[in-house]
Amino acid sequence: MDRLYGTHKPTGLVQKSILAVGSGIMSIADPSRDDMISIFGETTGGLALKYMQEKMVIDPEGDRILKERPIINSKTVDLEYLKTLPIGTLGKTYSNFLGKYNLTPDARRPVSFIDDSELAYIMRRYREIHDLTHVTLGMPINMLGEVTVKWFEGIQYGLPMCVLGAFFGPLRLGPKHTAKYLHLTLPWIVRTARQSRSFMNVYFEKHWHKSLNEFRRELNILEPPPKI
């Protein structure tokens, strides 16, 4: 098989199986190996990526994203401009989010083990909008916030990595968070994920100036539960 995109590493079925099993084990055994988590996602996500592709093609904005293939990194997103936007807009909130948690949009691992150029882009887009998903849903980076976002992504996209993370992540929550999770967060996020537009179809880069509340209304996102 030839290389279909820059970071492509062509692999056969046996190799993918080795990677899937090995990365699955290593992700749990050594959670600091974030490359293992992303490889697990790539090797198990084939079917889900095709499902995501179908949903993107039939939506006009999603189709546009597939054609233009926008990329989110520090070169394509003008972080300085985002800082100047008024408070309460998507762009400003995103900029604050990155600053608060000391993140950069460049931190996403490149896709290597998906043998289709468009599906590889969809996986890349999924990774790159993860932080924006956090912002749009209003979820922090703590364990509860991550699990919530994983539920959202698992329901909307069907990626096995998200579903597994959503199921097993809560096992590590403390008692206070577990209570909140079960009674408030989980019902809310399941309802939201099923009602709202698929985030893969959202061309975030065109909505920086929008007020976050208006943006959420457009996407049909329900009011998040109050913070503890």
Binding site: K9, Q15, I39
Partner: protein
């Protein structure tokens, strides 16, 4: 490539002097962290150890532990002698050198405490302009020299030698195998194990080996080679291509290096061709011995 003598005691005392002049308290920098000085060496070693540990684990997994048998056999063929000047090139983490010293101790236990020092003094560390390359060359300061192009591997090797209590018997030197910094005819035995494949010009490495060996000295190379049996070679190829890069990704987080590994094995000259190459550098009585059906091979030649 710069050539530096890593006489370890000098280098570390130099570093500690710099540190005390550049920080305000008894702390120093470890990346972005600020740590107490005595902690830095430990932390540095942890970083290097974690990388080298996964390489060792990979060696074990790829060869099912057989690389240890190969290396043990290799040293038995070398048959260490306490009077020899020995150099192991591309020997970064010290696998071969430690085996050499341990084998030496096994057969000559009293020699361990009575190693004669070399005649010439340690090279001064001031800089000067030399008139010719020959003037910059040095003599070994120990009966056992380990040379490697990669300072990280050398650092791990040094730490391991401290753990194994062999620290003061080895001279560690960072250098390119194609241009060794030693004077002519300094060594009785030259070994290179699983390193020559990575060098850009194999013939230059062998020529350098010839240059630094004394008359009567022996060149020994342990390296991956060609499996001579067709059926076995098919299974070996399938195994390599299918298993090694993914295992490299999972264990060492490095697909590319292990992809490179399996490709470089196939690009390296076969047993007979490599023997011809060694002969062309004026070595005599060149022969080879296959290990594990040719998965690896030991080549040997004498400078006469």
């Amino acid at each position: 490539m710069f050539i530096r003598t890593l006489s370890s005691i000098n280098r570390f005392s130099l570093l500690s002097i710099l540190r005390t002049h550049s920080t305000t308290s008894n702390t120093t920098h470890f990346g972005f962290d600020e740590v107490p000085e005595n902690e830095k060496q430990t932390r540095v070693n942890e970083v290097f150890s974690s990388v080298a540990d996964s390489y060792d684990l990979m060696n074990d997994i790829m060869s099912f532990g057989i690389h240890r048998i190969w290396k043990d056999h290799f040293i038995r063929i070398v048959r260490p002698d306490p009077q020899w000047n020995y150099i192991d090139v591309a020997g970064g983490t010290g696998d071969i050198a430690f085996r050499y010293l341990k084998e030496l101790d096994r057969y000559y236990p009293s020699a361990a405490s009575s190693i004669p020092l070399s005649e010439s003094p340690i090279t001064p560390t001031h800089t000067y302009i030399a008139d010719s390359l020959e003037q910059t060359r040095i003599r070994p300061t120990s009966k056992c020299v380990v040379a490697d192009i990669n300072p990280n591997m050398l650092a791990v090797g040094k730490q391991r030698s401290i753990d194994n209590n062999l620290h003061n018997r080895i001279q560690w030197i960072e250098t390119n195998a194609e241009e060794l910094p030693f004077e002519d005819e300094q060594f009785d035995v030259y070994t290179i194990a699983f390193g020559i494949r990575n060098c850009t010009h194999i013939d230059r490495v062998v020529s350098e080996a010839y240059r630094v060996l004394k008359k009567g000295g022996r060149f020994l190379c342990l390296e991956f080679s060609q499996v001579n049996n067709t059926l076995l070679r098919y299974f070996y190829d399938q195994y390599s291509k299918t298993f090694i890069p993914p295992m490299g990704q999972i264990i060492a987080n490095d697909w590319k290096s292990y992809q490179y590994l399996i490709e470089s094995i196939r690009v390296f000259p076969k047993q007979k061709e490599f023997a011809e190459l060694i002969r062309s550098c004026n070595f005599r009585y060149v022969n080879y011995e296959n290990l594990s059906f040719g998965v690896s091979a030991i080549h040997s030649g004498y400078k006469l």
